[in-house]
Structure formats: structure tokens, C-alpha cells
């Protein structure tokens, strides 16, 4: 069972890395999604995954062998929640940048924006474009 899982992890990592390097916001978002799933699968493998292991409900405290380690799934659960929240924020940011600049190519964005910069951007007018 470990080999197929390892191959799946490798494919997900490769796909994620490839997508993140594409010059397109949407592909970058998808790439991070693939990457976080690769990480979650890796975590399962690291916890000593075996197909015959039982769920960790301990009936007899003196016999715990043959049970699945509960810590990696626990970590995965937290990691999923966090990557979901940050992924949603990232997608929103991509959309806002796309709307502001009219391009979904990160390379096409201007290098500097001097007009926003005078007096420090945070002290600047707080451009009203954001709310429509």
C-alpha cells in the first residue's frame, strides 16, 4: 500500500509545483491546492500507514498494537482547515488583483506603482476603488 501512496504523493507534488510556476493566478491557486493535498497524504504515510490497522479506539489499555496512530490524522485535520482558510483568502486576493489590474498574469503586473507611493502607501488616500 505504501508504494501507490508514495507515487500519488510524488505526482501531486510535481503537479502542484508545475502549476505554481505557471504565469496564471488560477493555476497558482490550483497548484497550492494540489500541494496541500500532497502534504496531507505524506502525513498519512509518515504516521506508519498500514492497510490492516484498526481505528484507535482502545478497548483494553494493555493491548494497543495493531491500532492506527491517531496523531497524524489529527495534524492533517488541522492542516486542512488552515489551508482551506488561507486558500480562500489567496483566491480572493487573486480576484482583487485581477480586477484592479485587468490581468491574470503575475508577470504582467507593473514593477512599481509610484503614484500610490508618495507619503507611504498606508498613509496614502486609501484608494476608494476597493469598494464598489
Amino acid at each position: 500500500m505504501e508504494l501507490p501512496l508514495a507515487i500519488a504523493i510524488a505526482l501531486l507534488f510535481a503537479g502542484g509545483a508545475y502549476s505554481i510556476l505557471r504565469p496564471n493566478f488560477f493555476r497558482i491557486v490550483v497548484g497550492f491546492g494540489l500541494l496541500s493535498n500532497a502534504v496531507n497524504l505524506l502525513m498519512i504515510l509518515c504516521g506508519g500507514f498500514r492497510s490492516q490497522a484498526a481505528a484507535p479506539f482502545v478497548a483494553d489499555p494493555h493491548r494497543v498494537d495493531g491500532l492506527m496512530d491517531p496523531i497524524p490524522p489529527d495534524i492533517i485535520l488541522t492542516a486542512i482547515v488552515i489551508s482551506f482558510a488561507v486558500g480562500a483568502l489567496f483566491l480572493t486576493l487573486c480576484y482583487v488583483v485581477y480586477r484592479e489590474y485587468g490581468t491574470d498574469d503575475p508577470e504582467a503586473l507593473p514593477v512599481r506603482e509610484p503614484e500610490d507611493w508618495a507619503g507611504g502607501p498606508a498613509r496614502g488616500a486609501g484608494l476608494p476603488r476597493y469598494e464598489e
Binding site: 497550492f32 500541494l35 505524506l42 509518515c46 482558510a85 486558500g87 508618495a118 507619503g119 486609501g126
Partner: protein, 522 residues
């Protein structure tokens, strides 16, 4: 002692409280400041208690040590907490003069408290997984603060910052998984006990797995070659809170390197990781300062200096690979962190005053601040000289201690890089000084607000003078904290109970440790 939890509980409740007071800006910022000041008093008390009684541990839910979630306050944690809360208090008193109504409407204060929650959490946690969670909490707070005001530039730079940190978070989980599969535990004290006896192929595997975590922490700290996101992101942070970003956020990475790579991973072969850091530190220092030299905006110059200064701290951690000078090197690093947080935060705050007075952040448009506001100029002058390492300020002493340790270990090339960087730092500080502070004052009287901004900033500038002139108690504390990091016997006993057996470095290497304090006292 369960009171340790207060350092994360207070920011958490304050974040909720400030969000509820959202319609009343004055009450909101008052609550923000009062909460920060109260917690500052608490963490200084905690430092005194930990210094006297040893590490304080709080186990969540009452589960026993390697299984439950541990919050541990040892000397290093408490030093970092004191710095974090002191800078947060200064920032909380500074921002009422700078935060715009739009930023306030974008939940500036609650987000700042979330940021503080994450930073304090990362300093107090005793387990690797919680370190990951605290990183994420801190980052979510920092994304929010960074975007407050929502100019185009801010949203776009935050996008890059979020992408970099998403990658860092994914790698962090990879590192956690690999380390867990080798040592079978995530509690730092437990890992330290296990790895101090590790040998053979498992030790080598752990060193290989730890490289992933090394990359994550180096990314967070802004060390070469993973610093590229920093000089673009920090200049867009709203005025005032950028002092907190500059002072604390990269130092969370430094703290993690200290905690994880010096204290927790003790297997033979870990020197390899520290050796990488030593080489990276030289590049970090030199590249950072060269970047600073060619910038023409005050915030960008200062942001590049963060990179350059991170090099010195990483250098101290790298020097710890040499067992003979490990304790002295870590003590020097801790003292450098103290100095750096104070000085960097004050430079950003005073730089903000200069921007406020001249109405621009570009050096070529500034000028005459020394005429318009002599007090602010004095503050900047002291902080800048301290950053460059001039006596009698804290920067001189921090660099002296670090360089002397490197010379003890015969690392001459790194000393050459450190000293050259110091000169170049002075050069770029002179550039800010001559363009922004000297010259004629051109037009209207300065906005009167700057005095209210200068008062909190002057506290930090005073701290750098005190650290330089009355350094012995701080050096003693840094030295004791370093001993607790290099050989965390008390830490392990406090977390795992007195029967836990940690093989100290001296036992492992059959070497007598050279202590910093024993030599340094007259």
C-alpha cells in the same frame, strides 16, 4: 503554573473585545493599549519568576507531558515575550496618531491583536505542531494588518506574501511529518531526549528531514537565499505597526532556529545544518546591506537592513556548530536579538515620524527634518548609530560579543564579512541621515502630530542606550538563557518530569563546555 497561558489568552480576548468596540474607535484603541501594557507587566513578572524558579510549564487539559499540549516558559521564551510585548505596547501607543479611519474600519486593532496572539504563541509553545499552528495564526494576522487600507499596492504585495507563506506552511507540515516518522513524538523536550541518544542511519535521516524545517525557518527569518519576499512586503505595512513587523516577525524565525535546531535536534550530524546557516549568514549580511545601499525610499532601506541584520543572528546560530563555543555563540545571538528588536522597531517608528513630517517616504523628496523636528532627529541618530554598531550603544556590544566568539572559534572569514557589513550599514544610515534629516526645510510647518508619535518611540531608543551602558545584567540573562538552550536539562525536567534523562552535549562530545559568563566576568 497555568498563568503562562495568559500570554495568548489576553491577546485572544482583546482581539474579540476590540472587534466588538469597532464602532467606537477611541475606546477600541484604548482597550488595545491597556491590554498590551497590562500583558507587558505580566511577562516581565514572568521573566523574573522564571529566572528565579526555572521553567514554568502549563499542560493543556491536564494530559501528561509527551502526549498533551505543553506551553513552556523558559528564559529564552520569556526574553522574547518581554520584547514582543514591549514593542507591541510602544506600537499600541504610537498607532492612535497614525491609523486612518479607513484602516480602523478594516479592523486594524483586532488584526493586530491576532498577530500578537500568533507571535506570543510561537514563543510559548513546547511542541512542534503547535509551532506550526502559531505560525499560521501569526501569518493570518499579518495578512490582515498588511492589507489594512487596501491600496492596490498593498493587495498586490500581500498576494506575494501569502503565496510565499502558503509554500512555507506546506513545507512545514512536510518537515513535521518526516520528523515525526523518525522520532515518533512532537513534544520538543521529548524530541531532545530522543535525539540526544540517536545515532547511526536514523540520526542521518533526521538530519536530512530537518533540512525541510531549516528551509521553512530560514524563509521566515529572511535568511539568504530565502529573503527576496521581505524587502518588497515590509514597506507596504501600515505606519506604526511596521515597527512590530520589522522587530518581531523575522525574529520568530530566528527563535525557531534556536529552539528547534540548537535545543531540540541534538543528533550527531546536526552540525551540518548549523554549518549551512553559517555560510548563508555571510551572504545574508552582505547582500542585505548592498540592497539597502541602492534603495531610495526610507522604508525600503530599513527593510533591506532587516535582511542584513538577520545575517548576524543566523551567524551566531551557525557558530554553535562548534561545540567549544556553542554556549557563548548562542548567548551572543540572544543578546543580538534583544538589541536588534529594540533598535529595528525604533528605526521604523522614527522613520515613520520623518515621513509624517515631510509628507513623503522618498529620500529625494525629503529633507530638513532635523530643522523641523530636532527631537526626532536625535532619536534617529542614536538608533542608526546603534544599528551600525557604534559605541556606546547596544549595537556595539552585541557585535563585539558576536565577533569575539567567532574569533575564539577561529572563523576569521565570517568576522571579515560582519565587520565589512557594519561599515556599509553606517554608510547607508548616513544616506538616510543626509537626505532626510539634513538639508533645508522647504515649506509649511510640520504636522504637530509628530510629538505624540515620538514619545513612544523614544522609549525604545532609550532602551538601546541602557542596553549599551548597563549591559551586564542583560548579558548575564542572555548567557543563562543560552545555557538553557544548549543543554536544556531544566527544560526537559520541567516538561517531562525529573526521571527524564537528557544526554548533554558535554557528555556526548566528552568536552568541557566553555561558558561565556565565566570568562566575561572580571
Amino acid at each position: 503554573m497555568n498563568a503562562v497561558v495568559l500570554v495568548i489568552l489576553v491577546p485572544f480576548l482583546t482581539a474579540i473585545g476590540t472587534a466588538l468596540l469597532h464602532d467606537r474607535p477611541r475606546a477600541e484603541s484604548a482597550l488595545n493599549a491597556v491590554s498590551c501594557l497590562g500583558l507587558t507587566a505580566f511577562v516581565f513578572w514572568l521573566l523574573a519568576k522564571v529566572d528565579a524558579d526555572g521553567p514554568q510549564v502549563s499542560m493543556m487539559g491536564g494530559y501528561a507531558a509527551p502526549y498533551g499540549i505543553a506551553f513552556v516558559a523558559d528564559r529564552l521564551s520569556c526574553i522574547m515575550l518581554c520584547l514582543s510585548m514591549a514593542v507591541a505596547s510602544v506600537v499600541a501607543l504610537y498607532v492612535p496618531s497614525t491609523v486612518t479611519p479607513l484602516q480602523q474600519a478594516h479592523f486594524f486593532h483586532p488584526l493586530f491583536q491576532v498577530l500578537l496572539l500568533g507571535v506570543n504563541w510561537s514563543f510559548i509553545t513546547g511542541d512542534l505542531f503547535n509551532l506550526f499552528v502559531s505560525y499560521e495564526v501569526m501569518l493570518i494576522g499579518s495578512y490582515g494588518v498588511m492589507m489594512c487600507g487596501s491600496s492596490r499596492q498593498q493587495v498586490r504585495q500581500t498576494l506575494t506574501y501569502v503565496a510565499i507563506n502558503l509554500l512555507g506552511g506546506a513545507l512545514f507540515v512536510v518537515g513535521l511529518g518526516l520528523v515525526y516518522s523518525i522520532v515518533g513524538t512532537l513534544n520538543m523536550a521529548d524530541i531532545a531526549v530522543v535525539t540526544s541518544r540517536l545515532s547511526g542511519p536514523r540520526a542521518g535521516m533526521l538530519t536530512a528531514a530537518s533540512m525541510v524545517l531549516l528551509a521553512v525557518f530560514a524563509l521566515k527569518a529572511g535568511a539568504f537565499p530565502l529573503f527576496f519576499w521581505l524587502p518588497d512586503s515590509y514597506p507596504i505595512v501600515p505606519l506604526g505597526v511596521n515597527g512590530f513587523f520589522a522587530g518581531l516577525l523575522t525574529k520568530v524565525g530566528i527563535y525557531s532556529l534556536l529552539r528547534v535546531f540548537v535545543m531540540t535536534f541534538r543528533q550527531p550530524g546536526n552540525e551540518f545544518a548549523l554549518g549551512i546557516l553559517l555560510v548563508a549568514s555571510a551572504f545574508t549580511m552582505v547582500v542585505g546591506v548592498l540592497g539597502a545601499l541602492c534603495q531610495w525610499e526610507i522604508r525600503r532601506v530599513l527593510s533591506w537592513h532587516i535582511v542584513s541584520q538577520v545575517g548576524y543572528m543566523v551567524m551566531g546560530i551557525g557558530l554553535a556548530a562548534d561545540a567549544g563555543i556553542a554556549t557563548a555563540a548562542i548567548a551572543a545571538t540572544i543578546f543580538y536579538v534583544v538589541h536588534h528588536i529594540v533598535v529595528k522597531a525604533s528605526l521604523f517608528l522614527v522613520g515613520g515620524i520623518a515621513e509624517e513630517i515631510s509628507g513623503s517616504g522618498r529620500l529625494k523628496e525629503m529633507g530638513g527634518v532635523a530643522l523641523a523636528a530636532p527631537g526626532a532627529a536625535v532619536l534617529f541618530f542614536v538608533a542608526a548609530l546603534s544599528l551600525a554598531g557604534m559605541p556606546p550603544f547596544s549595537g556595539f556590544l552585541a557585535k563585539l560579543v558576536l565577533v569575539r566568539t567567532a574569533l575564539q572559534g577561529s572563523h576569521f572569514w565570517i568576522v571579515a564579512a560582519a565587520v565589512a557589513t557594519s561599515f556599509l550599514t553606517l554608510l547607508s544610515m548616513m544616506k538616510i541621515w543626509s537626505h532626510a534629516f539634513w538639508g533645508g526645510w522647504h515649506d509649511a510647518p510640520p504636522r504637530p502630530l509628530w510629538r505624540r508619535m515620538a514619545a513612544p518611540a523614544s522609549v525604545l531608543v532609550a532602551a538601546t542606550v541602557v542596553l549599551g551602558l548597563w549591559a551586564q545584567p542583560f548579558l548575564r540573562l542572555a548567557s543563562d538563557a543560552a545555557k538553557g538552550v544548549v543543554d536544556p536539562v531544566d527544560y526537559v525536567h520541567a516538561v517531562l518530569g525529573p526521571e527524564a534523562r537528557l544526554a548533554t552535549r558535554a557528555e556526548v562530545a566528552r568536552l568541557e563546555p566553555v561558558t561565556f559568563a565565566a570568562e566575561d566576568r572580571p
